[in-house]
Symmetry: C2
Subunit: 346 residues, 2 copies
């Protein structure tokens, strides 16, 4: 059986911020909805696709990073939740739901099935939305979990600040920190997001960084005692402002630099000397280095969610054709919560 | 018995780089060469005074650091090696040598004797110069020891780069790293220093950073495989260049920022994104946080020195009046090795 297969293709490597016109919707070749014998692959129908800031790095013509760039003219690759339509891998059966790397298209033949995780039906049954497997229970959730517990060295009573706090990672960092007994302040870029942080996500305080002329002064207002942990999703001037407000022996987990348009944007710091005088640790990390903790993460976070201890906010857009705009919107803060594209029905 | 007591006084808080004219030689009041009964203090004759870059921070009108600023009009305080002339503390006897915080003057009444360390005569006897107790066996040596072993997480075979490599701290970092089985490259600011690094201090390679137009390219030349450990004494553009050349999971121990004229000089970085992609740890430290290791440090380094495994280069200037110029020279790299002022004879 052959089907049409719409795809989102990267037209060429980007310069600076990604634009919708850097990508295009293509019809693609008609695809045989089967996993060829001997391929050991699975043919999946993609249901939800994940828009993640790290993907911007794969749109650059830079081949020396931890993950190779996309190829111009090729379909964009990313995390997704998919349904197995046909399988040549005995570990996966038709009708099962899986999550892992797939393509921004309707149907994908996934040959590297070892990176797929089967979504247990009973999890789905007890009320965890399928799409959460690319958010709360996927890479962004695991980034928050590994970053908070393994990089931040959190203690009860610590003062924690997280930027991009309502995003896919930040919202979970703040909630985990609250469960750990930290005092938690987050920043975001709209009044609506600030309200969500305080009212729905349980942050102690939150502020709109776009309304602050002086980020150092803003942080000093929210942290008169100083910051023990800064979970940094944005880099640049916010990182500098945090440096000025860190306490002695403070920890900065550097998770993202969404404020930076390129790998080599100049970032200016006035407060770098504080790294010495306050014995600050700045530590960059990738969730993939902690992958041995993934089973524990799934168990912990599934448990917290079932017990009603955490919530998760998604920004769901409909249709593969909405993906380029949704992706680009990540970098101007258009999304409220984890950005997901719904491309197919279950 | 009263004596004249020449002193070096800080005239006023500095702006930017310290100048000789920020300090002045004063005759001071005549001093009674005795430790008053009931003072529990010791009256010492100062023999060697230490010029250390951290003292610049105490010349600034900034009261929120780990150590309070000097008071304008007062005698400068710093580490020294001194001889006890009179004692009201039963732990110290006339004629003994001590090291610790003293003043930039000929005679000092030290009331806080708990911070003094007695120099064992037999150490002195077996050929360790007294002045080494403010260098190799003093704060700078301990900074190198604690920074290398406790902050850098060194492994045999690691590629280590140290800036200001012929200085009081850098020269020991490089030698300890060689003993640990690392590949060691240092940078310094003159051909003479580069020769010392290679020929006397046993570095694998060394270069004159002032002759390099492109620091990133220079480091790439000396570390084609990349840098595992950067022991940073200078900050600024060298730190940025090192970031570009770090390997995955690299460690940067931030010990000093001698290139920066003030606490809030703007430092620009183009390579900060590497902190994430290469999972770099940047860690500032102060030796004082590791003080419990001091006894082990003294034993280890004394042992290495006696066995001929390490050497130590000093820049000795004569006379208290030479102190301001010697101190200022630290920041233009005039010193070759640890800068010491000889103010009295043993």
């Amino acid at each position: 059986m052959e089907r049409d297969n719409k795809q989102i293709v990267l037209k060429s490597y980007i310069n600076g911020s990604p634009l919708e016109t850097d990508m295009e919707l293509k019809l693609g070749n008609r695809i045989k909805v089967e996993a060829p014998k001997g391929s050991n692959g699975v043919l999946v129908k993609n249901l939800y696709l994940s828009c993640d800031p790290y993907m911007r790095g794969r749109m650059l013509d830079f081949h020396d990073s931890y993950i190779p760039p996309f190829s111009p003219g090729s379909v964009i690759e990313g995390f997704g939740v998919s349904k197995v339509v046909d399988s040549d891998d005995p570990n996966f059966k038709r009708g099962e739901f899986v999550t892992g790397l797939t393509n921004w298209e309707e149907y994908t033949l996934i040959l590297n099935t070892s990176q797929l995780r089967k979504i247990q039906q009973h999890d789905h049954g007890i009320g965890i939305p399928l799409s959460y497997h690319i958010g709360l229970l996927g890479m962004p959730g695991f980034t928050a979990y590994a970053g908070f517990y393994e990089v931040c060295a959190p203690k009860k009573g610590d003062y924690l600040y997280v930027s991009a706090a309502s995003g896919a990672v930040g919202q979970l960092v703040g909630q985990l920190a609250k469960l750990h007994g930290c005092y938690v302040v987050g920043s975001a870029g709209t009044t609506h997001k600030v309200q969500l942080l305080k009212n729905k996500l349980g942050f102690d305080e939150a502020f709109n960084y776009k309304e602050e002329l002086d980020l150092e002064a803003a942080l000093a207002r929210y942290f008169p005692q100083g910051i023990d942990i800064y979970f940094d999703n944005v880099g640049g001037s916010m990182l500098d402002a945090a440096l000025a407000n860190m306490r002695a022996h403070g920890r900065i987990a550097v998770c993202g630099m969404v404020s930076q348009n390129s790998r080599t944007d100049k970032q200016s710091f006035r407060n770098m000397f504080g790294v010495i005088s306050k014995r600050i640790t700045i530590k960059g990390f990738l969730q993939s280095d902690f992958i041995q903790l993934y089973p524990r993460f799934l168990e912990d976070i599934t448990g917290y969610y079932k017990e009603g201890k955490i919530v998760y906010i998604e920004n769901m857009n409909d249709g593969l054709e909405s993906a380029p705009a949704a992706f680009v919107g990540l970098f101007s803060g258009k999304n409220v919560g984890k950005q997901v594209i719904r491309v197919g029905s279950e």
